[in-house]
């Protein structure tokens, strides 16, 4: 029996022994088809899913490659039914192909009449198909490319999209990297991410917060050499993108436009917010046309895990354009990973957080759960409250305010973010800590000023609501205190930790405190929230509030 680093389970999970000498090679071998699910300190677990296998097929790997990798690195015999299932699942990809026919335009073609008959039999698919050219080919309505792909994926027959992409309007974009002293260089994993994306045509790149996803986007733009539309979560993020592009590429101020609530500029590179695109007036989305009314050669979806439904719908019509999704947490709380696969594209690159940390590109972090006791009156109120009220009562316990003050006092001279969800709680905290507060109604200019003061060290403590969950670049923040969250949201937890992940100048370890009310639903939600980070290898220490000096 081989002594490999992998243990392949019958339930389609793969365990990888991190300390094994062949672990790195094995990780590489399975990365193309297995999804990293958990990455704790000793054994990482991957899952083999149809999406993952189709991702691999889309990247040019066949079933033999997958089976070989499993047999080669597996410590124990691999369940034979699993190997058969892998072969059968992978064989489904590409049995249907979307192609460009010189006469009929977009067509759906199969090498098996029965498969085409099977999928055409469903009403929804039939509505998207036109006449049959022959028993193996059906015409597809030009606008139905994305919708059809999504439906075929659901039916278990993912179509290979060979219909190609439009070129888009050419626009030269060059990176400013170089090897001379003082110049920046593309990191190896960033380079591989871009190469994988470009080879695949469209798809998603998953990298930890602070690992330089924006640079991956910039490199993809340079590879495309066309006009680009970048979709981001909010205006602050749009401006950070702009600043980063100015720094990392040959683009000038005049070539980059902002399309937000405040400004509506359309330039060769346009950065638009999800919010403005999904603004609805009289039942229509007036700004969504921005997506399709211009000849973009590349669309970049920042924080693709947050992509709102209208953008998904619109993306279905944009299948002729190259699409790049960027995220740190491809965990959709709404379970729409399949739509990301069908409409944005397969996952092209994924790197475990701890691996990037080991390479020194993101800061090491110490996650601490601080258990706080509710006072007797609070506990009585909690015990008699309705279910709907309980979480708020537990999450906003005044006892947490005291602990937060103690934690701030315990980190003199450090840049501290205090994060929460409930505004009353944040107001009180800001007052007690004598710190500025950024929340939803804080003007963009005011936000930017406060963030800049924080970056400059003029402010050492900043209280923020969930507006600061994403896409916020605060390199010197080294301590975060999370007082409340959005119930059990795993991605919020990860994104909040992500605010601390930029490597510190002095190599300091970041501290991420979560205050949790003991013996309440707050503790249950905290456990759920921590799952993603725990799975990425972040071990939470649990301490008692009384132990904080």
């Amino acid at each position: 029996m081989a002594d490999g680093p992998l243990i392949v389970q019958g339930d389609k999970t793969i365990l990888l022994e991190v300390a094994h000498p062949d672990a790195h090679e094995a990780r590489h071998a399975i990365a193309s088809f297995a999804e990293l699910e958990r990455a704790p300190e000793h054994m990482h677990s991957y899952r083999i899913t149809p999406l993952g296998l189709w991702n691999a097929r889309a990247a040019g790997h066949d079933a033999e490659h997958v089976v070989d990798a499993l047999l080669r690195f597996s410590r124990y015999p691999v369940p034979h039914p699993l190997l058969l299932d892998i072969a059968e699942t992978m064989a489904r990809y590409g049995r249907l192909r979307l192609e460009k026919d010189p006469v009929h335009g977009l067509v759906l073609r199969s090498d098996d009449e029965m498969i085409l008959a099977e999928v055409s039999h469903t009403k929804k698919v039939a509505a998207l198909l036109g006449s049959r050219i022959d028993p193996l080919t059906a015409v597809v309505h030009g606008s139905a490319r994305g919708e059809l792909k999504a439906l075929l994926l659901k039916a278990g027959w993912p179509a290979e999209d060979l219909a190609g992409y439009v070129d888009g309007t050419a626009h030269l974009i060059a990176l400013t990297d170089g090897t001379a002293p003082g110049q920046w260089t593309l990191r190896p994993y960033q380079r591989r991410a871009v190469e994988n994306f470009w080879a695949g045509g469209s798809g998603v790149v998953v990298l930890p917060c602070g690992a330089g996803k924006t640079i991956v986007g910039a490199a993809a733009m340079a590879a495309s050499g066309t006009t680009v539309l970048i979709l981001v979560t909010n205006t602050v993020s749009a401006r950070q993108w702009k600043a980063e592009l100015l720094k990392r590429t040959s683009l000038t101020e005049s070539e980059i436009g902002e399309y937000s609530g405040a400004v509506k500029e359309v330039r060769p590179v346009t950065i638009a917010t999800y919010q403005v695109l999904t603004t609805r007036r009289n039942g229509i989305y007036p700004h969504l046309e921005l997506l399709n009314d211009h000849d973009w050669g590349l669309l970049v979806y920042d924080e693709v895990h947050l992509l709102p439904a209208p953008i998904f719908r619109m993306s279905a019509d944009l299948q002729a354009r190259r699409r790049l999704g960027l995220t740190a947490t491809l965990v959709r709380e709404d379970g729409r990973e399949g739509e990301v696969f069908a409409l944005i594209g397969p996952k092209r690159f994924d790197a475990p957080w701890k691996e990037i940390e080991a390479q020194g590109y993101i800061a090491p972090a110490d996650c601490v759960e601080v258990r706080v006791d509710l006072s007797r009156p609070e506990h009585l109120a909690y015990a008699t409250a309705d279910d709907g009220e309980r979480y708020r009562l537990a999450a906003t316990s005044p006892a947490k305010t005291v602990v937060a003050q103690a934690l701030v006092a315990a980190h003199p001279g450090e840049q501290i973010l205090v994060m929460g969800t409930y505004l009353d709680q944040l107001d009180e905290l800001a007052e007690r800590l004598d710190a500025p507060l950024i929340k939803g109604n804080t003007k963009v200019a005011e936000r930017e000023r406060l963030f800049e003061d924080f970056r400059q060290g003029l402010i050492s403590v900043l209280v923020v609501s969930k507006v600061a969950n994403f896409s916020l670049d605060l390199p010197e923040a080294s301590v975060a205190i999370q007082v409340s969250g959005s119930f059990g949201s795993r991605q919020e937890e990860a994104q909040r930790l992500g605010r601390l992940m930029r490597p510190k100048k002095d190599g300091r370890t970041a501290r991420f405190y979560t205050l949790v009310a003991r013996n309440t639903v707050d503790a249950e939600f905290a456990a759920k929230r921590q799952r993603f980070l725990a799975e990425q290898g972040y071990a939470y220490r649990i301490i008692d509030a009384a132990d904080i000096r």
């Binding site: 019958g10 339930d11 365990l15 047999l71 015999p77 691999v78 369940p79 071990a539």
Partner: protein, 589 residues
Amino acid sequence: MGTLAAFAADLANRPEPALRKLLLLRPDALNPPVPTFVALAARLSTASCISRALDALNAPALQHLGTGPWNAQTSPNSSLMPELYARGLLLLQTDNQTDDAGTGHYMHAPYVLPLALVPNPQMPSSTLPPEPVVRAVTEAVCKNAAGSAADALLRSVDTLADLAAHTPLQALRSGQFAARTVRLVAQNLETDELHTHFLLDLCATAGLLTFQTSTRDWRWAAPWWSELERQEQWVGLIRSWLSSPATAGEPALTSRARLLSVVAGRPAWAPVAVTSSATTSVSPSGITSAGALSLNSVVESYLWNHPRTATAEVAALPELLTHLEWLGLTGAGACSCAGDAAARNDWLQAASAVAQLLPAAIDRFVIQGDLTAIAPGPLLPHIAAQLRCVSVVEGRGPAGIFRFSELSLTAAMGAGMSAETILNFLKRYSSTTVPPSLEFLIAEAARAQRTLAPTPTQCLFAPQQPAPPHWVGDAPWPGSGVVLLEEVEAQLALLRAAGKNTAGKNEAGQGEVGPALVLEGVRRAVACGLKIRVHAVNNVGVTEHVTAVPVSFSGGLLLTRLADTGAPRRFSIHRIQSVDVLEGEELRG
């Protein structure tokens, strides 16, 4: 000399190696042991014993048997005759009359044989084995498939053991597993109901699950199961499966065992024997390079090798092939090394072969910050049991994943474990340090436990166990067709001690010889029209002595006409103690 006496004389004159071979090929003679050669001849001449011997014959052998008598030197299929003779299916005629022709020994069949040779229209006519269609399977793929199947099988049985030890499995009045039970087990095993049925039947066959008639449920009856080595567990399951009939009324060598011999490409009628202390010398490489037979080839080969039973069993072959795969006897359709050894009834070799494929039991696990313990292989049973006590099992595969939660720890404490006991256990068997988060969780659970103050109950550890059986290389599994050489030697010693008494006079009416002599006498009298004197017990237990003319013998009834009055008289064969054939008093008219 009667046929039985002639057969006994033939047996008595056989050299010892030939007798040894006969006993190996016809193990019916060993259980219970027979005291004399006459008794041996009687045992081997019974219809059921001959039927079993014929079941093992292939098409050419059966065809040949249907064409006797034969001259041992001039018969066209003379190569088959020594084998048939060795099996006691042909008798050597040695008296002067038959040998006068000077053409060598003549052979004929025991008298029951023609009755057993029912014409079979589906009997393959070819004397050559069918040409198989083989799909290439590499040894690595075969090993992987067989190994993973054997491992999955044992894990499933472990899960079933855990379930059934705590929850009796409800059954129907007939003893069949209730549909709801099957669904419950299927959910626990994370498999489909077909596979679940197979596993339940397997465990019942192996005696691991026993039916309680009073409560109408099946219960785990093998608390010693977890103490066995994994390869021994596998051998036990395989031996019980191979020796139990797939359908009711199957002969001792079951269709499962016959199918395995076909898939393994082993001659169907090769003698098999093992000793309890030594293995036979067989190449460990097995025959995996032979590849996987197509279903059609299996069916054809099965028909050719076992024409007497195949007709009724062919329909079940696809399902049985699936079962061979689930058991790890085949891997990706090709016979595995362990399967090959099993086909030869070499259980030490089978155990050794499967042990090379099964993950070895380990005594260490790692604990991670996400509150899971991972055992990168099957844990030793006592460690696994204790770990299950404090956590919840996740996933399905060779590695064990155990998740700790406040609930699981509280439950363990409720079952009598203290925080200190749990921590000590984890520290003792974890190859990594216990993360602070888990220590904190244990402290929290202890705090909650103190608040609730439950009454400690006994922890669900493995109960006291009786001694486990020894399945590898020990006594043959009932009905498996396996013969221990020791048994054969004991039988031969018994026969030697009895001497070459082949007349059977002293044994008339005793043991198995009496009924055999009665049957032989009755059949001869009916065939030759001879008067007989019947010694029979009437319905009040008094022995009668009647002289009669036999008319017919069928269905266990002997119809006669009384010699003096001509009145009809019927005798149930079981009431007849003995029969004297009155030679020279042929029925006239």
